[in-house]
């Protein structure tokens, strides 16, 4: 007994949409970062599911690259958050407007 592919795709869509909702509604910069990780994971689940249902190992290699990019993104993003926090003493995204002119 195996779980059909469409269930994995629906689960992945739900996870991705949850991440999108978090990015759009939350105001804490760190929580927004975690939501981005959630979206990357949803895409990873799709890649692994297709890779194992189609019998092609390329998807799994691609997931490893996505993980590496996610790690790099998390490191740089958190460094930016720390730098912003030093300047403004807040992680509220609504009050971070130094890019405005």
């Amino acid at each position: 007994m195996t779980v059909p592919l469409s269930w994995y795709l629906v689960l992945s869509a739900i996870l991705f949409v949850t991440g999108v909702a978090g990015v759009l509604t939350r105001r804490n910069a760190i929580v927004v970062f975690m939501c981005i990780e959630l979206m990357l994971n949803a895409v990873n689940l799709t890649l692994v599911a297709f890779s194992s249902f189609l019998g092609d190992g390329t998807g799994q290699v691609f997931v490893i690259f996505v993980m590496a990019v996610a790690a790099a993104e998390a490191a740089v993003g958190l460094a930016i958050v720390i730098a912003l926090f030093r300047n403004k003493q807040t992680v509220d995204l609504d009050s971070i407007n130094i890019l405005k002119w």
């Binding site: 195996t2 779980v3 059909p4 592919l5 994995y8 795709l9 629906v10 689960l11 869509a13 739900i14 996870l15 991705f16 949409v17 949850t18 999108v20 909702a21 759009l24 509604t25 105001r27 804490n28 760190i30 929580v31 970062f33 975690m34 939501c35 990780e37 959630l38 994971n41 990873n44 689940l45 692994v48 890779s51 194992s52 249902f53 019998g55 092609d56 190992g57 390329t58 799994q60 290699v61 997931v63 490893i64 690259f65 993980m67 590496a68 990019v69 790690a71 790099a72 998390a74 490191a75 740089v76 958190l78 460094a79 958050v81 720390i82 730098a83 926090f85 807040t90 992680v91 509220d92």
Partner: protein, 157 residues
């Protein structure tokens, strides 16, 4: 399980609780990878995500001493409702694409050779053979990320 933890994550007010929910979500995804016979990726998921990335996130939360989000209490603002509506629309769209698609149907069962593709040996052979150049580019990206993170987080920018 994965959905529960994911929804909990964006509903939690406290960022630490949110991070813990996300860790639960990563574990659920690792179990799903095992179900899909991708053993190496399941282990990698736990090591890289829950082991490295989430430790980094929790460390930053503690470093910035963000206890409660009381300072930025979630006002039931226009943006929040618009964001939820947009996300719901996206979900509808994705599910509609899945069920209304044309063309060849989805494969009904897992490919018989998928059991041998999730092993370290298979993934490693593909990565260092066919995908050697992207692999090297990734190492360069990680190097740039290290340097960038160190410079950004320096005392004096």
């Amino acid at each position: 399980m994965a959905v529960t933890t994911a929804v909990l994550m964006i509903l939690q007010r406290n960022p630490v609780m949110s991070a813990i929910s996300l860790i639960g979500n990563f574990f659920a995804l690792a179990a799903l990878y095992l179900l899909l016979r991708a053993q190496f990726l399941a282990v990698l998921q736990i090591i890289v995500y829950t082991g490295a990335i989430m430790v980094l996130v929790v460390f930053v939360i503690m470093l910035l001493n963000l206890g409660d989000e009381r300072g930025l209490a979630e006002r039931p603002s226009l943006r929040s409702s618009v964001g939820t509506a947009l996300a719901a629309g996206l979900l509808l769209e994705l599910v509609a694409i899945l069920f209304l698609r044309t063309g060849p149907g989805l494969p009904p069962a897992m490919h018989p050779s998928s059991g041998s593709q999730g092993t370290v040996e298979a993934v490693g052979t593909a990565m260092f053979g066919k995908f050697l150049f992207p692999f090297e580019i990734t190492s360069l990206l990680l190097l740039v990320a290290i340097v960038g993170a160190v410079i950004l987080a320096k005392k004096r920018l």
